[in-house]
């Protein structure tokens, strides 16, 4: 399956689901700041990679899939969980990119322009994440053919 973007999928989300994500995201950002203020930058920095919206995201994926299967007359609980598991596998690969983002900022920020470093780190995140996913995908396809 090739990569596809379907903007109409955004309509599936209910207003409270969007509010929940916004609230969680904002709250985790505030907590990261407060931890840094109270315990120092080293402890605060850990929370920059906190899986903030991961549980709510996984839950929403599972419930949307369950609803979709219900409409088709099926149960869908098992399938919903599995789809959330696939999403979690993607997040596992994305974490390699997240680490690359952090390394670029850690190593380059003291010596270079901040805006350029953040931009370079974001590109590193995207490049590393997509590369890991692409290799994983190719290997999965080869395994399936065997």
């Amino acid at each position: 399956m090739s990569i596809q973007a379907r903007p109409q999928k955004l309509k599936q989300s209910k207003w409270w689901e969007l509010a929940l994500r916004f609230g969680f995201g904002g709250l985790c950002t505030v907590i990261a700041g407060l931890v840094a203020k109270k315990f120092g930058a080293a402890a605060g920095g850990l929370f920059l990679a906190f899986p903030a919206i991961f549980p709510s995201g996984a839950s929403l994926i599972a419930s949307h899939e369950k609803e979709r299967k219900h409409r088709a007359g099926m149960h869908g609980t098992h399938r919903g969980c599995q789809l959330a598991g696939v999403d979690a596998a993607g997040a596992t690969m994305g974490c390699v990119g997240l680490g690359a983002f952090a390394v670029v900022v850690w190593q380059e920020l003291p010596r270079h322009n901040a805006a350029l470093v953040i931009a370079a780190a974001s590109i590193a995140w995207a490049a590393v994440s997509f590369a890991v996913w692409w290799v994983w995908r190719k290997r999965a396809i080869v395994r399936r053919r065997k």
Binding site: Q4, A5, R6, P7, K9, Q12, R21, F22, G25, G26, L27, C28, T29, V30, G33, L34, A36, A41, G44, G45, L46, L48, A49, F50, P51, A52, F54, P55, A58, S59, I61, A62, C81, Q82, A84, G85, V86, D87, A88, A89, G90, T92, M93, G94, C95, V96, G97, L98, G99, F101, A102, V105, W106, L109, P110, I118, A121, F130, W133, R137
Partner: protein, 115 residues
């Protein structure tokens, strides 16, 4: 006031990445955005403005350890959820101590030496 600004910026960045993840397929690819540096983008920008680049670099150093912990946590979640026996929310919340334990263990082990 600064906390309110943090809340708004964090909420907007996290929601933007979540929306991107929602509309992409396949799900394994969309999952990459679940580990996007959303909180980091919001927090580091504010840290650079208010506390300087050296302070933000120290935060980024710890973030490497947080990312390693997140990687293990997400892999555990994937394994548990793929079996399809537990609710997604219950499994992902129940496994959060994995992130805390590993993150703080790594910080304790390498936090002071990597500067």
């Amino acid at each position: 006031m600064q906390e309110l600004l943090r809340f708004l910026i964090g909420g907007i960045v996290v929601s933007a990445f979540a929306a991107l993840s929602d509309m992409l397929s396949p799900k394994s690819f969309a999952g990459l955005f679940g580990a996007a540096p959303s909180i980091a983008l919001a927090t580091l920008t504010l840290a650079i403005v208010h506390s300087g680049k050296a302070y933000a670099a120290v935060e980024a150093r710890s973030m490497v350890m947080g990312a390693a912990a997140f990687c293990v946590y997400a892999a555990c979640c994937s394994r548990v959820l793929m079996r399809g026996r537990h609710s997604a929310l219950a499994a992902t919340v129940a496994l959060l101590p994995v992130w805390f334990a590993l993150g703080f263990a790594l910080l304790w082990l390498f936090g002071g030496r990597a500067a």
